[in-house]
Amino acid sequence: MNKQVKTFLRDRAAVMAAVVLLSLVLISLFAPWLSPHDPNNTSLRNMMQAPSQLHPLGTDDLGRDVLSRMMFAGRVSLGLAFSVTALALILGSVIGGLAGLLGGRVDAVISAVVDTFLAVPPLALAMVASAFLSLNLTTLTIVLALVSWPGIARIARGQVLTLRERTYVEAARASGASTVRLLRRHLLPNAVAPLVVAGTLLVATVILVESALSFLGFGLAPPTASWGGMLNEAQPWFQEAPWLAVFPGLAITLAVAASNLVGDALRAAIAGGTLRRDTPT
C-alpha cells in the first residue's frame, strides 16, 4: 500500500488536482460561512453588474451575487456527484458481484440488463426520468444513480470472475462459506482497487451528466441551482453579461478535470508504477 501512496504522491499534477478537489469540497461545505452575500438575495439595483470588489464574480439578472451562488451551487453539484457515486458503487458492486459469483442464468439476466442500460445514453435516460418526475435532491440522486450503476456492475462482475478462480476463494467455498460471506469477505474487498478508480472517474462523469441535464432545463427547480443550472438560468444574458457564462463553467471544468486526474493517478498507482517507461525510439 505504501508503495502505491508514494507512486501517487510522485505525480505532481494528481496531488495538485486532489488539493483543488478538496478545496472545492471544503468551500462548498462551508458556503454558509464563506459566502460574501446571501445567494438568493435579489436586488434590482445591482442587476448584471460586472465583477467588482463588492461582487468578485459579478451579479446575475436578478442582482444576486454570482460568487455566493456558485459556492452554494457547489454543494448541489458536488454533493450530488459524491452521493450518486456512492449509491452507484453500492448498487453496481452488489449486482455485478452477484452476477459474477452466481454465473449461469442469473449472470445472463443481469448482463442483459446491464447491456441494455449501457446502450442508452445516460443523459437521455436521465432527461426522460427527470422530465416525468417531480425533481428534488433525493429523486435526482436516485435517477442519476440508476443511470450510473451499470458501468460499475460490469467492472465488479469482471473482477469477481477473475477472483473467484483464486485458491483462497476456493478454500473458503470448500469450508462452507455462504455466497454472501464469499462476496463480502473475499471477493469485494479484493475488487476494491479497480472500483475506487472507477468511482473517482464516475464522480467526474456524474458532474458532467448532472450539469448537462441542468443546462438543458431538466434540473432542480429554482432558486436551488447547480453549476449547470446557473448556466441554464443565465442563458438569455450571456451577451450582455459574459461573466455569467464563464465562471460556473469554469467550476465544472475544474471539478471534473481534478476528479479525472486523481482517478488516473490512482489507476497508475494501483498498476504498480509499471506504466512509467522511457520514450520509445
Partner: protein
C-alpha cells in the same frame, strides 16, 4: 463471416426489445402520462379525455399497450406527433441525417487529431512537453461541451462574427453542401474536441504498450526506419483496442451530440428530444429515443464486425 454477422445482428434484437420495454415503462408509468397532457386543459371535458384515452388505448392494461405500441413500431407506424400533427416517424427521420452529420464530423475530428496528438505524446522527448500534452488532454476531456460551445459562440460568432451563430444553413439561401459544412464546422470541432482528448490518451497508452512487444523489437532490430515502424507495425496494433473504445463511447457521443445540438441550434434528434420532452410530445419522445438506441446498437454491431477486418487473429466460427 456472413453467418457471424447475421448471428450478431440477431443477438441485437433482444437488446432492442429490452430497451424498448425499459423506455416504454419510463415514459408511460409516471404521473403526467400522455392523457394528462390533455386532461390538464381545463376546457377538456371528462368525456373528451375518456375518448382520447380510448382512441390511444390508454385505458387498456400496460402490457397490451406495450404490445400494440411495439407492433405498430415494427410495422412502421410510430404514432402521430402531438405538437406537429403529423407522423412521428417523419418528424424523427428528417432529423436523423442531421445528427449523423454532426456525430460523423465530430468523430472525424476526434480520430484525426486524437491520433496525431497521441503520437505526439508518445514521441515528445522532453518530459515537460509530454506532461503538458497529457494535462491538456485531461482538460479537453473535462470541459463540458455546452460550456465550450457557448464560449465559442460568444467569441467567434457574437464578438468576431467569423462563424454563423447556429442553425444548419444561412437563412434564405438555397440549401447547399458547402453552406451546411460551414455551419457544421464549429459544432463538430466543439463536440470532437472531447474525443481528441480521449483518443489521444488511448493512442498514447496503446503505443506505449505496443512498443514493448517482441514483434516490434524484432522489427526494430531488422533496422526498419522509425516512421515505418510506427505506420506499419505499431499503429495498426493499437487500432484494434481503439475500435473497442469507439464502440463503448458511442452512447456518450450521442449524449454529447444532444447537448451540442441545443447550443448550436443544430436541428438534430437531440434537440428534437429536448423540445419534445419539454413539450410532452410522447410519440416523438419515444420515437427519437428508440432511434438513438438503435443507432448505438447498430454502431456497436459495426465495430464488432470491424475487428475481423483489422485483426487477423479474430476468426469467426
Amino acid at each position: 463471416m456472413l453467418t457471424y454477422a447475421a448471428r450478431r445482428a440477431l443477438g441485437a434484437v433482444p437488446r432492442v426489445l429490452l430497451v424498448s420495454v425499459l423506455l416504454f415503462l419510463l415514459v408511460q408509468l409516471p404521473e403526467g402520462g400522455p392523457a394528462d397532457v390533455f386532461a390538464a386543459d381545463p376546457s377538456a371535458s371528462p368525456e373528451a379525455i375518456a375518448q382520447i384515452e380510448a382512441l390511444w388505448g390508454l385505458d387498456r392494461p400496460l402490457h397490451e399497450q406495450y404490445l400494440s405500441w411495439a407492433g405498430n413500431l415494427v410495422r412502421g407506424d410510430w404514432g402521430a406527433s402531438f405538437s406537429q400533427r403529423r407522423p412521428a416517424r417523419d418528424v424523427v427521420l428528417e432529423r436523423l441525417g442531421n445528427t449523423l452529420w454532426l456525430t460523423g464530423g465530430a468523430l472525424l475530428v476526434g480520430i484525426v487529431f486524437g491520433v496525431l496528438l497521441g503520437i505526439a505524446m508518445t514521441f515528445a522527448r522532453q518530459r515537460v512537453v509530454r506532461s503538458a500534452l497529457q494535462l491538456l488532454s485531461v482538460l479537453g476531456m473535462s470541459v463540458p461541451t455546452f460550456w465550450s460551445g457557448t464560449l465559442v459562440l460568444l467569441v467567434f460568432a457574437v464578438q468576431l462574427d467569423w462563424i454563423p451563430s447556429g442553425g444548419m444553413r444561412t437563412i434564405g439561401a438555397e440549401p447547399n453542401f458547402l453552406d451546411m459544412a460551414w455551419h457544421l464546422l464549429a459544432p463538430a470541432l466543439v463536440l470532437g474536441s472531447v474525443y481528441v482528448a480521449q483518443w489521444s490518451r488511448f493512442v498514447y497508452a496503446g503505443l506505449e504498450e505496443v512498443y514493448r512487444e517482441d514483434f516490434l523489437r524484432t522489427a526494430r532490430a531488422k533496422g526498419i526506419a522509425p516512421q515505418w515502424l510506427l505506420l506499419k507495425h505499431a499503429f495498426p496494433a493499437t487500432a484494434i483496442p481503439l475500435v473497442t473504445v469507439l464502440g463503448l463511447e458511442l452512447p456518450r457521443l450521442m449524449a454529447g451530440a444532444m447537448v451540442t445540438e441545443v447550443v448550436f441550434a443544430w436541428p438534430g434528434i437531440g434537440r428534437l428530444l429536448t423540445d419534445s420532452l419539454l413539450g410532452r410530445d410522447y410519440p416523438v419522445v419515444m420515437a427519437s429515443l428508440m432511434i438513438l438506441v438503435i443507432l448505438v446498437i447498430v454502431a456497436n454491431l459495426i465495430t464488432d464486425l470491424m475487428y475481423g477486418l483489422l485483426d487477423p487473429r479474430v476468426r469467426y466460427e
